[in-house]
């Protein structure tokens, strides 16, 4: 008999998941934390939110950081919710969370991560090896989904400033 391990990423909720649908309560709570968060059993990651997953991809040892905040699960030994502080200037994990919130595709997410650091459409096109026209189309969708009035408002909102 083997222990069945729950998948790290919630199934079927990536990309354009309906925003009105009911969400698994634990997933909803982990996502609402905002910064990278995990459910740990001992040292093993049982669940993680989007920012947590993105952070672990970039930095596999992130959970060993000394500034991790631990909230033990009452009544269940060896389990804790662990929250890591946001890394200042980290557009990648923020873009992953924003993509989820706004229902963006992985491609939009990559465009957003560059756009948010102030890269021009031409610069984004070069970085992602596609045409500037394509980038423009992506930016239009992102502005629409994020409900931002301009590219600048989007950047400010992306970083929590508007």
């Amino acid at each position: 008999v083997t222990a069945s391990k729950p998948p790290l990423a919630p199934p079927g909720r990536a990309g354009r998941a309906p925003r009105s649908g009911a969400v698994d309560p634990f997933e909803a709570s982990l996502e609402a934390i905002g910064s990278p968060a995990f459910l740990l059993h001992g040292a093993e990651v049982v669940r993680a939110n989007q920012r947590g997953l993105a952070l672990l991809e970039r930095e596999p040892d992130a959970l060993r950081r000394p500034d991790a905040r631990r909230i033990p699960v009452p009544g269940v030994p060896d389990h804790a919710v662990v929250v890591l502080p946001e890394i200042p200037g980290d557009a990648t994990t923020r873009a992953a969370a924003a993509a989820r919130q706004w229902g963006l595709t992985p491609r939009h997410r990559d465009v957003l991560a560059l756009l948010a650091t102030g890269v021009s459409n031409g610069g984004i096109a070069r970085a992602l090896a596609c045409s500037e026209k394509t980038v423009e189309a992506h930016v239009t969708v992102i502005l629409d989904r994020s409900n931002a009035a301009s590219r600048f408002e989007l950047i400010a909102r992306f970083w929590g400033g508007a």
Binding site: S29, V46, L154
Partner: protein, 347 residues
Amino acid sequence: MSDTPTIAEIVDPRVRRRAAELEASLRTLDGEPPNLAWLAPRLVELLGCQRGGAYGYRADEGRVRIAYLNVVGFCGPEYQQDLDAAFSRDPHGTVAYDPLRPEPTQRNRVVELRTERIDRLAENRGGMASLRRRHRWLAEHQLRVLVCEGASVLAWVGVLRETPFRAREKTLLRALVPALRRRLSLERQLSSTPLAFGTLAAAIEAIGTAALLVRAPSTVVHANAAGRTLLEANPVAGLDAIRAAGPTAFTWTPLALPGLPPHWLVVRVRPPEDPAPRLAAVARRADLTPRQREVLARVVVGEANKTIAFALGISENAVELHVTALLHRLASASRSELVAQFWSGAP
């Protein structure tokens, strides 16, 4: 199952009322403290026993272990260790069923067992008998049910006492099985850990802003520390005030909790960061004029030149000149970069 009794059929009105209360508790998430810690004492009391409760199993690299233990009348930690050791040594020598996959006839059925019979069924290969000796639990009657979802055990739920059980107690426990099953399978769904409403509570606590778990129509089931402070500040209007504040102040996420009335996770929207400290730091570092600082304050929240010109009562041309000067002073290649640099660094 046509022979499943219902609580309404329990004859004694006092017992019926207490059983109905227990069933109602299993239907809500209000049963604080978390992890169904309230279940064992209430079950034991209802069934007139000295000890009992619930525990669950998990597979750990092919061995059976106790996943959680929620009992009264036993020395908790020590009992869990001993039980765990007995199960991981030889589960089939300990109990007369497969703890991870009992036979269909053993699932969700209330059975009464005497300790001698348990020993015989388990072929007395040491496990339970030595555990009993250690815990001075010699001759007892046991009434238990393996609450199952499909083939897997959600929990062993049962009670123990020195005198035999009567039909009344068996009926009572049988009547509670559907509610136990619903609740325990919900607990499993709430987290990968069974009996883990506590896991949800810990995650809600970790939300840095006020957060509430709300049940339709308007009951606060759980609140984190910031949420409790918020409710205490307005004890009269409470949830109504939160609802009236609208979706820009609080997000209401509908939760998937099959078999329960609608629930929402209500989280206070984080206010946008106050730009003042960053503005002051930038103005000092780049030696900005008061006018440049005013323009910068508007540029960084995404305002267009025309809007800025109107707000400050100057021409759009003048705004353009200020913006150009700002780009130069802050060494930004573009307006986008300026906004990004302003917000993205450590405050």
